[in-house]
C-alpha cells in the first residue's frame, strides 16, 4: 500500500480522490451500467489516444514550453501513414511513417522555438495550421482507407481480452514515468522548466534539451496517430484537429502541471486523463447532452487549477 502511494506520488493524492469520487457518483447513479468490465474497458479504450498525447504534452509543459500543434501532428502522421501503406502494403511501413512524420513535426517545432527564438505558443499555433495544411494537401482533403489487416489489428485487436490500444498506452505510460523519474534527462527537463537560468549555469545544454523534448513529443504523437489510423482504418486529415490538443493540455494542467514549467508528473496527467474519461463516460451513461459535457469539463479544469493555485501559494 505504501509503495503504491509512493508510486502515485503524494501530490497526486487529491486527483486520485477526485477520480474515486467521480466513480462513486456515477456508480451509485447507474450501478448496473457503470460497474461492468465492459464499461471500464470502454473508458480506457476511449482515453488511450488522448492519454498518449497528454503525456507528451506533459513533458513539454514541464520543460517550460507548450505544444498546441500536437493534434495537427497526429493528423499529419495519420495521413502520411495511410498513404505509405497504400503504396507499400506493410504494417511496419505504416508505423514507421507515422512515427517518423511525428518526429519531424516535433523537431521543426523545437528548432523554431530555440533557433528562431519564437514564443512556444505562437510557434506551435503557426505549425498547428501548417501541419493541418500539409495533411489536407497530401490527402487532397479526403480520408485515405487502410486495408492492411495487421495494421488495423492494432486498433481493434485484443490480447487476453485487453484492447491493443490500451496495451500500447500502458507501455508508453510505464516508459514515460520511468524516463521522467529515473533518467538524468528527466531530471534535467524538470530543471530547465523550473529555472532555465540556473539550469544553464549548472551546465545543462538548454537548446539541445528543448529540441529534444519537442521531438520526443512529436514521436509520441506519431504513436498516437498509429492507434487512431488503425482504429478508424483510414488516414483522416481532420482526425487530429478535433480539439485533441486542448484536451491534452487540459489533462496536463488538471494533473498538476504549472504553466511556468518545472512542475507536473506523468502519473498526475494519467489521473487527469482518467478523470476526463470517467466524466465523459458517466455523462454519456446519464445521457447528459453533449453541450453540458463541455461545460462540465471547463468547470472541472477551472476548479482544479484554482485549488492548485491556492495550495501552492501557501508557502512563502
Amino acid at each position: 500500500m505504501r509503495r503504491l502511494l509512493n508510486a502515485i506520488g503524494p501530490q497526486n493524492l487529491s486527483l486520485l480522490v477526485a477520480l474515486l469520487v467521480l466513480v462513486a457518483i456515477f456508480g451509485s447513479l447507474r450501478p448496473d451500467a457503470f460497474f461492468s468490465p465492459r464499461n471500464f474497458t470502454a473508458i480506457l479504450n476511449a482515453i488511450t489516444i488522448l492519454g498518449i498525447v497528454a503525456m507528451a504534452q506533459t513533458v513539454v509543459i514541464i520543460s517550460g514550453g507548450i505544444d498546441v500543434s500536437v493534434g495537427s501532428i497526429v493528423g499529419m502522421a495519420s495521413v502520411v501513414a495511410a498513404l505509405a501503406m497504400s503504396s507499400v502494403d506493410s504494417a511496419a511501413v505504416g508505423i514507421l511513417a507515422a512515427v517518423a512524420v511525428g518526429g519531424i513535426g516535433g523537431a521543426v517545432n523545437g528548432l523554431l522555438v530555440t533557433k528562431g527564438r519564437v514564443n512556444p505558443i505562437i510557434t506551435t499555433l503557426a505549425t498547428l495550421a501548417i501541419f493541418q495544411g500539409v495533411a489536407y494537401i497530401v490527402s487532397n482533403g479526403k480520408a485515405i482507407g487502410v486495408l492492411n489487416t495487421d495494421f488495423n489489428w492494432i486498433g481493434a485487436g485484443r490480447i487476453a481480452g485487453v484492447p491493443m490500444t490500451v496495451i500500447v498506452f500502458s507501455v508508453i505510460a510505464v516508459l514515460m514515468v520511468y524516463f521522467m523519474r529515473a533518467t538524468d534527462m528527466g531530471r534535467n527537463i524538470y530543471a530547465i522548466g523550473g529555472n532555465p537560468n540556473a539550469a544553464r549555469l549548472a551546465g545543462i545544454r538548454l537548446e539541445r534539451y528543448r529540441v529534444g523534448v519537442y521531438t520526443l513529443t512529436g514521436l509520441i504523437c506519431g504513436v498516437a496517430a498509429v492507434l487512431l489510423t488503425a482504429r478508424s482504418t483510414s488516414g483522416q486529415p481532420s482526425s487530429g484537429s478535433a480539439g485533441l490538443e486542448l484536451e491534452a493540455i487540459t489533462a496536463a494542467f488538471l494533473g498538476g502541471c504549472a504553466m511556468a514549467g518545472g512542475r507536473g508528473t506523468i502519473v498526475g496527467t494519467i489521473l487527469g486523463v482518467l478523470i476526463i474519461g470517467t466524466l465523459n463516460n458517466g455523462m454519456l451513461l446519464m445521457m447528459v447532452p453533449n453541450f453540458y459535457q463541455l461545460l462540465a469539463k471547463g468547470v472541472l479544469l477551472l476548479g482544479a487549477v484554482m485549488i492548485m493555485e491556492f495550495r501552492t501559494r501557501r508557502p512563502a
Binding site: D184, R187, Y190, A191, N195, A198, R200, A202, G203
Partner: protein, 505 residues
Amino acid sequence: MLHPQTGSKPPRLGFTGICKSFGVVKALRDVSLDVRAGEVLALMGENGAGKSTLLKIMAGAYHADQGAITIDGVPQHFPTPLHARKAGIRVVYQEPDIVPGTTVAENIFIGELPRRAGRLVDWKRLNEDAAQLLSTFRFGQEIDPETIASDLTPAKRQMVEILRSLRQGLKVLALDEPTSSLSEAEAHDLFDLVRRLRADGVGILYVSHRMNEILGLSDRVAVLRDGSLVGVREAAELDQPQLISMMVGRALDSGMRKQRQANGATVLEVEGLTSEDVTDISFTLRAGEVVGLAGLIGAGRTELSKALFGALPRRSGRVRIAGQDVALRSPREAVDAGLVYVPEERKADGLFLERSVMENASIAILRRISPLRIIRKKEERRVVTEYTRRMRVKTPSLDQWIGKLSGGNQQKLILARWLATHPRVLILDEPTRGIDVGAKADVYALIDELAAAGAAILLVSSELPEILGLSDRIICLQAGRITATLDAQGASEEAVLREIMPRHL
C-alpha cells in the same frame, strides 16, 4: 557654496530612528538624518551600507521597521510609493522610470494628461504645457516635447523624469547615482538642474560614489556604514582621504584568515579578456590561492565572472586552465574544464525552488552518476550526503523541499553542488550575501578549507573586510578594467577603496 541655514525651521525631510531588517540582515540601524530645504545632502557609503534601503523607505517602496519620517515637521506615513509622491518626495533611480514608447510630454504628465470633451486627451495643451515646463528649466532648445522617450539619451531621460516630479509640488528629490551612465557634458547639465532646484528650495538627497562630484556639488555629506550613520559633515570642510576613512573601518566579525601557503601550480591564466562590460583583463590563479575581486556595483565583477564561465559572450582574450587553452563558450564547457561559478543571485541563477535538496545538490554531477542515462540513486545519495556534510548543510532530510532551507543553508548547498564536481577553479560571487552571521562564518571556514585542499578561488565580494580577510591577493576592478592587484598582506580598506573608486569627474 554654502547656503543660508534654515535656522529653527523644521527640516524639509527628517528621518528619526529608522531601522530596517531583511530577515537576519540589519540594513539600517537607528538612522536619524535631516535634509534641509535648499540644500544638497550627499549620501555616501560602501556597497551594502544601506543607501538604497534608505531611498526606498523615503519613496514608500519599503516600510521601516521602526522610526519616523517628517516633511516640514509633519509626520508622514507612506503605505505605497504613490503616497510618498503625493507628499512631494521623488526618488530617481539609476534606471529612469519612463514609458519608452510614448512622448516626452506624455511622460511628464503621465497619469494627469489634460483632457477635453470628457475622456479625450487634449494633445495641444499637453504639448504646450510640456514645452513651457521644459523651457522654464532651459531644456526648451534641447528636448522636443513630442520626441518619443526611448529616442532620448540616458541623460535626457533622467531630466524628463526629474521634470515630471516638478509639477507635483516637489519638496524632496533623491538621486541615486545619477551620473553613472552620463557623459561629462551631460553630467554638467544635470548639476545645473540640481543647483536650480536647490535655489528653489527643494531638499536634495544625492547618492554617488564619485568624490569630486560630491565635494563640488553638495553642501553637506552624510556617510553610512553597515546600516548606521557614521556622521554628517559640511562638504567644505572635507577632503577625499577624510571621506574614505569615514566610509571604511568595519571589522570582519568572524573567520579571520589563517596563514596560507599559496605556492601551488598556476591553474588559471586569463589574458586580455574583453567583453561588453570588461576590458583587457589579465590575471592568474594558483592552486590553493584565494584571490579577491573588489569593485563597486557596476564595475563589472559579476560580468567578468560570467564571461569567464562562458555564461556571457567574450570578444577576445585567452583562457588557460592547467596550461591548456580552453574555449569556455558555454557554462557546460567551463564545468567540463573544471571551472565553476557560484552565482550571486542564489534564487534566480542557482536554485530549483520546486525540487528537493537532493535534486538541487546532484544536478551538476548527474552525468557522472548516470551510466546509460539512468541515475544510480544510491550513488547519488552517497555523494550528496558526503558533500552536504562537508559543507555543513543543515537539513532534516535530503528529500526535503529546498524552499524550506534558510538562505545560508541554500548557499552552502550550492557550494556542495559544485564541489561534488571536483572543480579546479571556483568563482564565488558574493558567497555570503543575505545570509546570517553563523552561516557566514561557516562559509569563510569552507573557503579556507577549499584553498587548503588545493582549489584556486576567485572571491567576488562587495564587502571589503571579507575580501581583505580571506584573500591572498586582491584584484581591483573599476569601470571594467583592472586598476591594481594588491598583496592582501599589507593592504588596507583605504588602499582598495582608492583603487576601485572612480578617479575622474
